[in-house]
Structure formats: C-alpha cells, structure tokens
Amino acid sequence: MENANQKSGRLLSVQNLSVQYEANNEVVKAVNGVSFDLNYGEALGLVGETGAGKTTIAKAILRILPDPPAKLTGGKILLDGENLLDVPADKMPEIRGQRISMVFQDPMTALNPVKRVGWQIAEGIRLHEHCSKAEANERAKEILKLVGISEDRFREYPHQFSGGMKQRVVIAIALACNPDLLIADEPTSALDVTIQAQVLEMMGELQKAKNSALILITHDFGVVAKSCDKVGVVYAGEIIEFGTIRQVFEEPKHPYTKGLFEAIPSMSLDVDRLSPIRGLPPDPTNLPSGCKFAPRCKYRTERCRQAVDEHDFGDGHRCRCCMYSEEHGEGGK
C-alpha cells in the first residue's frame, strides 16, 4: 500500500442515510436521515443510549445489515467519493477488512473459539494482500506486538486470553490490513477501567500513527472526550447534535445533550440530586412527528410537534432543534 501518512482530506461522507427494519408488519425506523463527514486522521464519537441506532449506522456503512429485515431506504455513503451503496455485493468483501474494518462490541463472541488467534489475524492479510502464508503470519506477528501482546502467544486460542487481551486481538484483526477507516463499536464497554485506559490509549496511538479515521461508538461521554475530535449525539435514529468535542462538551445546544450532561454524576462537583431526563426514548415503531425528543423536552412548543429544523451555528457545530430557528426568537438558555 502507498504511504498512509500522505493521505488527507475527506474520507467518508454519509448523506441522509436512512435504515428501517421490517418484520411482522411492523416498521422500525432505526436510522432517520443521518449525515456526517469524516476526514483522514480524524476520530468521530457517536454517543447515544441503547437502541438509538448507533450500531445500525456502523453496520450500514459496512453493508453488513441482514436484509431482510433491514432495508436501506435512502441516502449515500461516499468513501473517497465512491458511493458504497452502488458497489455490487460481491465487490464489498474487497472493501471490508481492507479499507473499512470493524471492532465488535463483545470480544468474547467476536473471536472464533476453535481457531488460533494468530490464524485469525493473518486471515485478513492472506485474503486481501494475496501474499504467502508465511508472509501473512510474519505481518500478523508484527500487528500482535503493536497491540501489546507478545508474539509467543501467536499460537494460542482465544480462551487462553483475558478479556482485555481478547479485545486487543479483535483490534489487531481489524487493523491487520491498515484500513483507512476503523469502526469500533463499544470497544471497551466489556472491560474494566484500568484496562479500558490501556486499550483506548493504544487505539489512539495507532490511529494517529497511521493517519486513519476512527468512528467510536459508545454510550460513555468520558470515553469520547478522551479519544475523539468530533462527536455526534444520536437520539431515535437521528444525529441531533454534531460538532467538535469542545463545541459539544462546553456549549451543548440540544436539550437532550444538555439533559445527558446533567444526568451524569460529576467527578468534581457536589450535587444533592441528579436531574434525570424525564420519560423514556420513543418507540421506534411509532416515532413522534416533528422533533423526536419533544415529548421529553422541557422547552417544547407547539411547533416542535410538527417540524424540526437543523440549525448550523457555523464552524461545523449543528443541532436539530427548533429552539434556535428565527421564528422561535431567543431560544433556550
């Protein structure tokens, strides 16, 4: 491959992506018009609660959603300008693992229990780089060292590794072919904090060294703050706020984002009572019209029930909320 360090500019552009699951005469609207851009060398965090649609967005990019029940109902996914949704299905394996790869949530189930870890890491290299077995093994050993595992363990099986080590192996598999884009779905949620710190540190270093892009899916705002440049807050299948870490963390605009920050117990401030967001996320088979967050929002007006605007604050910070449109006047706080 050419020198990765020389790549720059736009890598991925997701435009108006929509996905729904159709089963038992029910339509679950999982992703509803999601758009974002990602450059080489950037790390994007997608945060949101269970069922918000984060993982569906990731799987849609890799086109590994099972159809049926999943249907891509609209949008474009441009990788270096090429729309992945137009790529014939039999050409996708050349992109998966080679240009885009994914780290799955649970390291315990992501590995094949009856294959040696070395074999599993080398598999991608053998398939994509068309090199000899010995060469692939050599490269796999290097990658294993890169993720901080001694090459003595190359011929061991997954059950011989601890949780943190298994997650390193999963990351090694994903990185084996130097992908331009790594999608990590809750890579550290199953790990303890001290191990999480090790894994995040390692992933960050490798991403910077290879100048690749990273999409980190998590429900943990702290993890995003430590490892990402940009963040998209996902709610009911929409990105309701998007911006740089500083923009979103220091001046959150959307009432949902603000609510989440207030609901997390602080490590430095003392509060007697937390302020939870009232109510529950909406039922994805029966989403409210207009703003999806309106039923739980303390600033809602009549207008929120009909429509929602996307407001751009300039400098890339945008938010899907009527509060900031002109007709609403001053807006929230």
Binding site: A197, K226, F249
Partner: protein, 317 residues
C-alpha cells in the same frame, strides 16, 4: 451513630480444582446505620461476593459479621430467617433477577406471602403502596418482566427488596445495566428511599462517579482485599493507595479542562487462586519494592483514612 454492620477479618474462599480462590480475604470494616458504604473495584475483585457473604447468600469461610452487635455467622435457621427480612439485595441485571413467568404484582407479593406475617388484604395494600413508592403505574400490576423497560424492571427489583421493611440493602451494581438518563432516575429513587426509611446501603459498583454521588464512605478493593477506605469525598480529593490513584486516573472524564495525569498501568489482575502473601497490586505497581512482598496491613494513615500500603508514608510526603 450506631454501627449496623461490623466485619471482622471476613474471608470467603471458593474451592477450585487448582486450589482455594480467595474471593474475599480478610476484610474488616464497619457500616454505620443510615449511611451508604460504597464498595468499588474492578471485576473479579470480590466486591459482589463480599455483599453476598454479608447477607448470607454465601457461607463465610472465616471471620465474623456483626449485625447490631450480634455475631450472625453462627445463628440458628429461625434466627436467620428473621434476619433475612432485615437484609435485602438489589441485583445488577433486572433481566435475570426477575422471574419471567411472574407478574409485577406477584414478584413484589412473593416475599410477604412466604413470611406469613401479613394477611391477604394487608399484602394487597402493601403491594399497591410499594408500587406507588417506587414509581410503577398501577396499570402495570399484571405486566410480565419482558413487557417492561430496564428502568421499570429495576424498580420492580427495588420494590421487592423493600417489601419486608429491611434495614440494610446490598445494592449490587443496580444501575450498571441502565442508560444514563434512566440511571439518574433510579439513583434519585434510592436516595429518597434511604432518607424516608432510614436505610443503610452497601453500594457495590465499578462506576466511580455513581459511588461518589451516593456514598458516605468508600472502600476500594483489589483481588479480595481492601486497599483503601475513607470518607467518600476524601478519596477523590486525596487518593493515597497507588491502586486507587491508578483507578481514579483511568476514568475518562467529561471535563475537558481536567488536567489530571493519566497513570496507565502495565499488566492485568493476577489470579486470585492461591495468591502470594504480599501486596496483591505489587506486580502492577510502579512503586513496588521488596517490602511489598510482605503481607500488608490496613493502617490509619490520617484520621478516618485507612490504607494498606507499606510505602504510603514515603510516597505521600
């Protein structure tokens, strides 16, 4: 304030084919009435086993547990069943701790029915009252667990724990399976219940910000042993044990201006089966020396601040 729970050299070993697994190894501390003791540590450090041993879900291997000054490690069956009413537990995973074939109402009713302390009419009244208290709508009485979301399921688990008017509740990671917006609702509920019913909690969790919010005192465990114990705010202000420092620095903070230095440790937890006598954190500790191979004693370093580290005075000068 009176001491509700006193642990003295409490041990719980599990026999395995490779030897004894030291899940809880010589734990000594008190919990005062009406307060919350937060127990933190990483998975496998023995924090859940400790909670379960205190309320006799596990038989202790050695040591003593005093409840209101009475040793409860050696009590008769009838005394134990009386004690069980006073000591309850809320489990981590509301999906697996509720019987999928019992309705909300039946789940809450069960402990009262078994105790034979109440008449049918009383039980019905209490079920209504408990559901109201934990914030489950009356319409949900006949619902089965799979019809409820995670937050409501956990509310049912809390109502069940409250049914027998307990004094002491072990909360074993009660909010770990919940999303943040729901987590805050449950934490507020637990706080309200503690205030209204004068409950004593032992709050077991790996989430440091949750434990900081809720606890009066915090105890940090590593591989079955207590390494540091003190007042909650103090441990965040001045963590003294090297492991506590590592643990706190590893938590990713949402505060962007947080200038804490991140200490990244090498290696992972060693095996709790037949551990070596010395400090169990020594293998990963940046300050380990020869003295650390000796058994460590929990010592009061500052008033109310206990640490088990032989180098504590040199390290924190």
């Amino acid at each position: 304030m009176a001491k509700l729970i006193e642990l003295k050299h409490l041990k719980k070993y599990f026999p395995t084919s490779k030897g004894a697994l030291h899940a809880v190894d010589d734990v000594t501390f008190d919990i005062e009435e009406g307060t919350t003791m937060g127990v933190v540590g990483e998975s496998g450090c023995g924090k859940s086993t400790l909670g379960r041993t205190i309320i006799h879900l596990h038989e202790s291997t050695d040591g003593q547990i005093f409840y209101r000054g009475k040793d409860i490690t050696q009590v008769s069956k009838s005394e134990m069943s009386e004690l069980r009413h006073k000591m309850q537990i809320i489990f981590q995973d509301p999906n697996s701790s509720l019987n999928p074939r019992m309705t909300v109402e039946d789940t809450i009713r069960e402990p009262m029915k078994l105790s034979k302390r109440f008449s049918r009419a009383e039980i019905d009244d209490r079920v209504n009252e408990l559901m109201h208290r934990v914030g489950i709508d009356r319409r949900m009485r006949q619902a089965y667990p799979h019809e409820l979301d995670g937050g409501r399921r956990q509310r049912v688990g809390i109502a069940r724990a409250l049914a027998m008017d307990p004094e002491f509740i072990v909360c074993d990671e009660p909010v770990s399976a919940l999303d943040v917006s729901i987590q805050a609702q449950i934490l507020n509920l637990l706080q309200d219940l503690q205030r209204d019913h004068h409950l004593t909690y032992m709050f077991v969790t790996h989430d440091m910000s949750v434990v900081r919010h809720l606890s009066d005192n915090i105890c940090v465990m590593y591989l079955g042993q207590v390494v540091e114990i003190c007042e909650a705010k103090e441990i965040f202000r001045r963590p003294l044990h090297p492991y506590t420092q590592v643990l706190l620095s590893a938590i990713p903070s949402t505060d962007l201006n947080d200038q804490r230095e991140r200490i990244i440790t090498k290696g992972e937890l060693s095996s709790p089966i037949n551990p070596k006598p010395g400090c169990r954190f020594a293998a990963r500790c940046a300050y380990a020396c020869e003295k650390c191979m000796q058994p460590q004693q929990l010592a009061e370093v500052e008033p109310g601040h206990h640490v088990a580290c032989c180098r504590i005075h040199e390290l924190n000068q």
